[in-house]
């Protein structure tokens, strides 16, 4: 216990860590506030810049950025009617109408306080839940990891607004890109076409920056105009009774956020939408109707999307399966630093787990501080023209890609991924599953091959799923996750909802 406490206090005793969390959160809050910039892009750029850093410092900065960006998205949702980050999509529904009524300050204050509360509850869930799951995960066989990896890809491909098959194509393309280079198990060349540049494979960070940074810059530059609602913001700190009155909703939506966040492949966006839907169903008599500036319509998504941050770390740290696209990038960062997230992380490097927990908690506190101050600066930041911002993103992407391997050739790879990502987005193919595919390909392939070796034949491997309770439960979850995505289930569900 004493040991755990000392790990937890690490960021508080080391001023550099505190400073990095603060800087990360501060930057994240403003990055998140700018439409078009999101946590995945910011963290993937940071991975390359912090590559040579001490792992604790790199993590502190990235965690700050992650938490800050998720919250920052609410600012432009409220002020511009554009979610600054995907997780703030539901905040638009009531945040902007409230701003139009001249109460942008109230909306921002409520969003800030509940983001911090949601974030803290998510961190508590991570601190308590992860060690338990981690002990449990020690019993997982290769077949179980294979199933979890596939489940992560399936869910991220389907939970968004994209058709499942397009998500699956993106995931398969991501995994195929990861096949390029030397096979880790046999050192045989795959898809190298005799090109020595391809022998080392495609660097994940290079692909990530291209897919997430450059492609987003190309998408955003299409529409240069952003209409800004200018208004005077007087009071931002919300009244105490406004917070206490909605404590029940806050806790319920936190739980939604934690659970959805912990599902491999889900994340803050889904959590926010589900929480908003929950608020609409359960809050019987809101002072203002939902969609017209209901306070509850801001509380629910903001609490939930920040609680999902802590939740998303649970599968990433305990199973090595990312909870969302940002944790997928963070997972890549941990691998780059020579660490192996999974059940052994807790036993081999427990300090790292508790460092992450305390950095997240610290970041929530900083969110509160930075969220309730600097309002004038916020109004200016969200107005930065895209014509200025997007070329800067390109320069940062180029700088970041070069920083990884110091190879100029990588810049062309990044460009290629950027253009591919842009085309995919234009035709409704999500890039998130491709990112996950790139990161999970090794885990899925290695466990697939190990499983077959262990059970001699493919049939034996398949039948082994029915020999252990953990595998049976996971298989049932996997089958269920497929069933719920079929049109028959959706039709049945719609009929049932209609009947209710």
């Amino acid at each position: 216990m004493e040991q755990i406490l000392s790990y937890l206090l690490m960021p508080f005793t080391e001023p550099m860590l505190t400073a990095l969390v603060a800087v990360g959160t501060f930057a994240g809050v403003y990055v998140g506030a700018i439409p078009g910039l999101n946590a995945t892009m910011a963290v993937s750029l940071l991975v390359s810049f912090t590559f040579g850093w001490n792992v604790n410092h790199a993590l502190a900065l990235m965690i700050g950025i992650y938490q800050g960006t998720v919250f920052g998205g609410s600012r432009s949702a409220i002020l511009l009617n554009i979610p600054g980050a995907p997780a703030a999509v539901a905040t638009v529904f009531d945040g902007y109408p409230l701003a139009l009524k001249g109460q942008a300050g109230v909306a921002m204050g409520i969003a800030t306080v509940h983001s911090a509360i949601g974030g803290i509850l998510g961190v508590i869930a991570l601190g308590i839940g992860a060690p338990v799951i981690s002990k449990f995960a020690l019993f997982f066989a290769p077949r179980d990891y294979l199933l979890l990896g596939c489940m992560g890809l399936m869910l991220i491909g389907s939970l968004g607004t994209y058709p499942l098959v397009k998500g699956l194509i993106a995931a398969v393309i991501g995994m195929l890109f990861k096949m390029v280079g030397m096979d880790a198990m046999t050192a045989t060349h795959r898809f190298t076409f005799g090109n020595p540049y391809l022998l080392a494979g495609i660097d994940t960070v290079v692909a990530l920056i291209g897919m997430l940074g450059v492609s987003e810059a190309l998408i955003q530059i299409r529409d240069l105009d952003t209409t800004v609602i200018k208004q005077k913001i007087s009071r931002i700190v919300p009244k105490f009774n406004l917070v206490t009155k909605n404590l029940g909703l806050t806790f319920r939506t936190s739980i939604i956020g934690i659970i959805v966040g912990a599902l491999p492949g889900a994340g803050g966006t889904i959590a926010a939408l589900l929480a908003y839907d929950h608020a609409k169903r359960t809050v019987k008599n809101p002072e203002v109707p939902f969609g017209e500036g209901a306070i509850e319509g801001i509380i629910a998504p903001e609490t939930s999307n920040n609680a999902a941050v802590g939740g998303a770390f649970i599968p990433m740290l305990t199973l090595g399966i990312p909870g969302d696209a940002v944790t997928a990038v963070l997972l890549g960062a941990l691998y780059m630093h020579g660490l192996r997230p999974g059940p052994s992380l807790m036993t081999e490097t427990p300090h790292l787990f508790y460092l992450i927990v305390s950095c997240l908690a610290l970041s929530c506190a900083f969110t509160l501080i930075f969220g309730l101050t600097g309002i004038r600066l916020f109004s200016k930041v969200v107005e930065i023209p895209k014509g200025i911002l997007m070329p800067i993103i390109v320069v940062l992407s180029v700088t970041g890609v070069y920083a990884v391997n110091n190879r100029l050739f990588d810049i062309f790879w990044m460009m290629g991924f950027g253009i591919l990502g842009y085309l995919m987005k234009r035709y409704g193919y999500p890039t998130g599953p491709m990112v996950l595919g790139l990161i999970l390909a090794d885990l899925i392939e290695q466990n697939f091959r190990r499983g077959i070796v262990q059970h001699k034949t493919v049939v034996g491997f398949f039948l082994s799923y029915f020999t252990h309770p953990i595998s049976i439960v996971l298989m049932a979850m996997f089958v269920f996750s497929i069933i719920v995505q079929t049109k028959w289930y959706k039709q049945w569900r719609a009929k049932k909802d209609l009947a209710v």
Partner: protein, 162 residues
């Protein structure tokens, strides 16, 4: 899975993109089969890529099949107009410009024109293209951006710049 929506309209060039994915899938499948035949076991180096390639072909084929009766936006126009529609949909002037600037920027870096010079030129040209008639502000933005990048990355993070 995806189901056919009544009256669903495809975006300009969407069918072409699906065909491109199918062709890419078939090419990967061909390469995977070649690898697989060297050691025809699923646990070999060619086994997993073969599965992935087959999946890509199946999914891309499914999308093409599913969209076979869908109309394309502006399908009643002539071929030249259709090509222009695809061009406008994918590459409006702003996107084309940024892509060109990016390509020239990367080439400039590749031929060792230097990070400072290439980046300054890239930024100023991009800013001036996207924000015309604000040249003074654009120069100031460029100066400020360059100074920040050098200060943060070169001197702060000690990162080797291209």
């Amino acid at each position: 899975m995806v189901h056919k929506e009544e009256g669903k309209k495809l975006k300009p060039g969407e069918r072409g993109f699906s065909i491109f994915l199918l062709v890419a899938g078939l090419f990967m499948l061909y390469e995977s089969v070649k690898m697989f035949l060297k050691d025809p076991k699923l646990i070999s180096h060619g086994g997993f890529p073969l599965i992935l390639s087959v999946l890509l072909v199946i999914f891309a084929g499914y999308i093409i099949f599913n969209d076979r009766n869908s109309k394309i936006e502006g399908s009643n126009q002539n071929k030249k107009k259709k090509i222009l529609n695809v061009k406008d949909y994918l590459f409006p002037s702003t996107v084309t410009a940024l892509m060109f600037f990016m390509i020239f920027y990367c080439i400039a870096l590749y031929i060792n024109l230097g990070f400072e010079l290439s980046t300054t030129v890239f930024l100023i040209v991009s800013f001036c293209f996207f924000r015309r008639n604000q040249h003074m502000k654009n120069i100031l933005y460029t100066f400020f951006t360059m100074a920040s990048i050098l200060l943060i990355f070169k001197y702060g993070f000690s990162i080797l710049l291209p």
